[in-house]
Amino acid sequence: MTKADLERAAELYDEAAEELDRAARHCKVAAGRFRDGNVPSGTAHAWAALGHVREAEERLDVQARQHRTKAQLD
């Protein structure tokens, strides 16, 4: 693998980490809003968290697919 390949992989993991950080922030807001009895706002933030988790998942999937093309599998 070249340095450029490694950098591309690292960037995908950075992006996934950022998406998961955002998801965590939305989860914390959702928890607070549900405790306050504000269901619509809690739901909006809960779904927002889900959106970021799926975005993170997509980045990890890309990396997994790239790995699969390069790995020597029996």
Partner: protein, 236 residues
């Protein structure tokens, strides 16, 4: 056949929080993790700048207590404040025709239907996005949208009952010199609440986009996880 979708009434939400939520929901709708969702809310006073905003449109007084936010939506500058009904549909245009111009025309149609029950006959003007009363021309609702991977964010802002002075005193709203802005309350010459208008807005969006809109929380108190759309999602 109508598609199932959620309607979220979020009340008063700061602009940046609402934008952040919209972008994340767009990701979830794009991946089919949640149904299409239509958000209704009001913003504390804020001036937002679209991608085509000319800085000369801005003349916010230094002592004005208002946030200024650069956004990724189309269009020029606008003002949001309490007493304005803001609607952000998070829709998948792959289900609604993959046609951005049609989407904007449909939002205009929804606005025209929303104000009709108040005996207001709103119109479109060729070449101008938004909805107007006429004559003389006075703008009652603005539209600015963003579409990525066919998922929509941003939407429309309908002036229900607020002072329209910031549209002209603080900015040259929508880049329109000498344009007049109005509100439902001003036209009816009586106070009108956002709560009074929202059900009409919800019905109009449901009709125009053929959505079976399910409000959250459910009026029968069924709870988040017992609602039909979640049952459908859980069975996938």
């Amino acid at each position: 056949m109508s598609d199932g979708a959620y309607a979220l009434d979020l009340g008063l939400v700061p602009y940046r929080e609402a934008w952040d939520v919209q972008r994340a929901l767009a990701g979830a709708v794009s991946q089919g993790a949640i149904p299409e969702t239509v958000i209704f809310l009001e913003h504390p006073p804020v001036v937002t700048l679209g991608r085509r905003t000319d800085r000369a449109e801005l003349h916010v007084p230094e002592d004005a207590e208002v946030d200024v936010v650069e956004t990724d939506r189309g269009g020029k500058s606008t003002f949001h404040g309490p007493g304005q009904l803001v609607c952000y549909p998070i829709l998948d245009l792959r289900r609604h025709g993959k046609d951005v111009k049609k989407y904007v025309r449909d939002l205009e149609e929804a606005l025209i239907r929303t104000v009709a029950p108040f005996a207001l006959e709103a119109v479109r003007f060729e070449g101008l996005t938004g909805v107007w009363l006429h004559p003389p021309p006075r703008k009652i609702a603005s539209i600015g949208v963003h579409i990525s991977r066919w998922i929509t964010t941003h939407g429309y802002a309908l002036n229900v009952d607020l002072d329209p002075a910031p549209f002209t005193d603080w900015i040259t709203a929508c880049g329109l010199e000498d344009a007049a802005f109005t509100t439902i309350a001003r036209e009816l010459e009586r106070p009108v609440t956002v709560d009074e208008v929202r059900p009409h807005a919800r019905d109009a969006i449901a009709e125009v986009f053929e959505l079976d809109l399910e409000p959250l929380p459910a009026e029968d108190g069924a709870g988040l996880w017992k609602q039909p759309i979640h049952v459908q999602l859980a069975s996938r």
